[in-house]
Amino acid sequence: METMTQPNPYQLDESPNPYEPLRAAAPTPEYDSPQPSESPDLSTLPPPTPPTPPTPTPPAYDLTHPAVEIVGLHKSFGDKHAVDNLTMAVPSGCMFGFVGPNGAGKTTTLSMVTGLLRPDYGTIRLLDFDVWEHPVAAKALIGVLPDGLRLFDRLSGLEMLQLSAELHGISPQVAHERAQQLLEALDLAKDADIMVADYSAGMTKKIGLACALVHNPKLLILDEPFEAVDPVSGQVIREILRQFVAAGGTVIMSSHVMELVETLCDVVGVIAAGHLLAAGPLESVRAGKSLQDRFVELVGGRDLDGEGLSWLGQGH
């Protein structure tokens, strides 16, 4: 990709310290106050401006014990480097938005983080465990909504949820109770007995999310959780995720809807062509701009050459 050849201050992949990206990107609490001048020349000074209010200091995240720690992660498919020497950390107790253009390596990274795809090299730690050295222990901590994987769609929604809970060792009674509550919350209660194969795309997404939640994990890894979901259910999901984080859980969600990430996430990572371009608290990553503008700036936006498509909108 063209943009990758340009030096980028957010290019953090070479950083040997996994916590470095967040620290590097975190703003220093510095107040914009007028500096004393030795010989003020009042005639050349611009008219006095009111002092800029201090930017809100982002909450301090615990980086000594991150929820996810990725070091030197790499995955190639043939000649294509889908994820290229990726190093990053996700602090505990935050809502982390993982954003990037199509084909950036988001799903590949999340698949490796969740143990669904073996990396070529690199390490991934989820809380206390290395995913590829202690997969069973690491997976016990996480709830996953993968993108593009089918569910056991010949089960009803209720059965699917119960299976998901019981596979995590939850007793059938508790599994049933939790499944009912989740179905109710996600407006799937009336369709609980219908096979997942007969669900719409949005309903399937919601049941997938419920499966990720039913065993009450410490870390949620959600690939495009709001895709195809209606606005009302979307609002419920936001509430659930906020509640989850408020209670101390960590959420990692991928998306390419910047507005969504901006309103929901407090920490953001931007990936393109398998490289991490920026990571850190939302305010510091977007650097005073909207996340959309900052994102386009980071990944390298393309101006549409208006001449070439000038025929558009002029009839046949």
Partner: protein, 548 residues
């Protein structure tokens, strides 16, 4: 539009064939075989030019009438995969049904069916060219009408079926129904030679054209008065000098073609405005499985319960189970009919002993049925992987479900045969063998399933007429292991069984050895298969994910 759709059809067909080298080679070999067979048939047809007009008429009307009947039926088998030019795909374009129909029809003439029909036409035309030019011309007309009838009826039926099969439930039922139809048909074909006499000799060679014609005469007479035979009866009636009847058959076919085109156009227009699958409300699942209480709480039990549900609800699994049930039954019946034909009595003790061993066949299919279990999961296996389920748990859960289904069926089959034939002295032997193969087979399946997987076409698509499993040479090797390994593990039991004919006390040993060896192989299969899975889960997920 005709040109564009024709080119599109050929291009898409070629791309599909070209998707992998293996597909291309297999398809080319298959097509070469078909074309070779059709060429032989065409030459045989051309040879009929020497036969009498009545014989030629009887053979062509019967054969081509049958072909016209089977053409649309064969569409059912390739449904869901052959609709390259599904009208719904044109829904976003400003094209009317009237404009689309000729192009879609023309595209229907292209492809394998069109090629075969063209090759056959050469023989057909030569056969009908021995008489007057007028008769030859009617043969050309009749063939053109007949060929169009084949294509149009096929297209119309598949358009109508698209509507029916838009519902998942209908596809599921259709798939299982089709499989039963095929098994029934193969059973009939198997029984046919037995009921026709000695069943020896090649009928095609030994029967002369005249006797074949006289045999088919009745069928042809009936066929020519059905819509399937009308176009083919045109030259036959003309050659007999009955020009009025020939005109009637031709007009009848034309009217039929017009009617079919009308129905098809209506379906195309419906497809153009409602291309999406009907949503429907979906089927409600009532209550929990009665078998749930037999499995303990925890991952093993939950995998077993899920697997049990899939054996019933997934049409692919249900089809596997049904064929597993039906094949031994059909084999038993075939053997009994064969014995009857050979003039032997079923009460003959040797015959009874032979028949009493047939339930072992059922057990033999256990390994193959179990080993592809994980492949049928497809990418849904990911759900289990992210839950951190270990391999042994997975193997054990699936094995429990398989045994919960196979063991009762095996017992019913065994008891049925023994109660009917009463050769109870063979019971320990047969029981020992069955247990050894059933438990051992599930063990082999558990082990082999951990090593070899193949991507299976997801449930809910009608898969006849198209490969439903992709896995390359490894799949073949896996299948071979699943087939041969049960033969190896059963050797100790077989040795005991054989010697028990001279030393009856060895029958009890056979029973013990059967149960012991079966249980041992089952345990080993679960542990070894499970350990291998633990080391390779991501690769297994990659292999079972259908990318079609």
């Amino acid at each position: 539009m005709i040109k564009q759709l024709g080119i599109l059809q050929l291009k898409l067909t070629w791309r599909e064939l070209h998707s992998s080298r293996l597909t291309l080679i297999v398809s080319l070999l298959m097509y070469l075989g078909i074309v070779g067979g059709v060429l032989r048939a065409s030459i045989a047809l051309a040879d009929l030019s020497d036969a009498s007009t009545a014989s030629l008429a009887a053979i062509t009307v019967a054969a081509f009438g049958l072909l016209t009947f089977l053409w649309p039926v064969s569409m059912v088998f390739v449904m869901g995969s052959n609709e390259i030019l599904d009208p719904g795909r044109f829904a976003l374009y400003p094209i009317s049904g009237r404009k689309l129909l000729p192009g879609l029809l023309a595209a229907g003439f292209l492809g394998m069916g069109g090629l075969c029909m063209t090759i056959l036409w050469v023989g057909y035309q030569i056969a009908w060219s021995s008489g007057s030019v007028a008769v030859s011309a009617t043969a050309l007309l009749g063939y053109a009408l007949g060929f169009t009838l084949c294509v149009l009826s096929g297209r119309t039926l598949s358009a109508l079926l698209t509507k029916v099969f838009a519902k998942r439930k209908a596809r599921d039922v259709g798939m299982v129904g089709l499989m039963l139809f095929i098994i029934g048909l193969s059973f009939l074909v198997q029984m046919l030679p037995m009921t026709m006499g000695d069943g020896e000799g090649d009928i095609g060679v030994s029967i002369s054209i005249e006797s074949l014609a006289s045999g088919l005469g009745g069928i042809a007479a009936v066929m020519s008065w059905t819509p399937f035979g009308w176009p083919w009866a045109v030259p036959a009636a003309a050659a007999a000098g009955n020009w009025g009847l020939a005109a009637l058959f031709a007009l009848g076919t034309l009217a039929l073609l017009w009617g079919l085109a009308w129905v098809w156009r209506r379906e195309i227009e419906r497809g153009l405005v409602s291309p999406l699958e009907v949503g429907g409300t979906g089927e409600r699942i009532k209550g929990t499985g009665w078998y749930d209480r037999f499995f303990p709480a925890g991952p093993v039990g939950s995998i077993a319960k899920r697997s049990m549900r899939y054996w019933r609800r997934d049409p692919r699994r249900l089809m596997g189970l049904m064929s597993m049930l039906l094949v031994p039954v059909i084999s038993t019946v075939s053997v009994l009919v064969g014995i009857n034909q050979a003039g032997e009595s079923i009460d003959d003790p040797v015959v009874s002993i032979v028949v009493s061993y047939l339930p072992v066949l059922f057990a033999f299919m256990a390994a193959t049925a179990t080993m592809w279990d994980i492949s049928y999961d497809g990418s849904a296996l990911g759900t289990q992987i992210v839950a951190g389920v270990d391999g042994v748990t997975d193997r054990r859960g699936r094995a429990w479900a398989a045994l919960a289904i196979f063991v009762p069926l095996q017992l019913v089959y065994l008891l049925g045969v023994f109660i009917y034939f009463g050769v109870w002295e063979q019971f320990p032997n047969v029981f020992g063998l069955s247990v050894a193969i059933l438990l051992g087979g599930v063990g082999i399946g558990s082990w082999a399933g951990g090593y070899w997987q193949a991507a299976q076409r997801p449930a809910g698509q009608l898969t006849f007429g198209k490969s439903s499993m992709v896995g390359g040479g490894a799949t073949f090797l896996g299948a071979l292991v699943g087939l041969l390994a049960p033969l190896v593990i059963v050797i100790p039991t077989v040795v005991c069984v054989v010697f028990s004919f001279w030393h009856p006390w060895l029958a009890a040993v056979a029973l013990l050895v059967g149960v012991g060896s079966g249980a041992l192989v089952l345990h080993l299969g679960i542990v070894l298969g499970g350990r291998h899975l633990d080391a390779t889960w991501p690769e297994v997920l990659e292999r079972v994910t259908w990318k079609g």
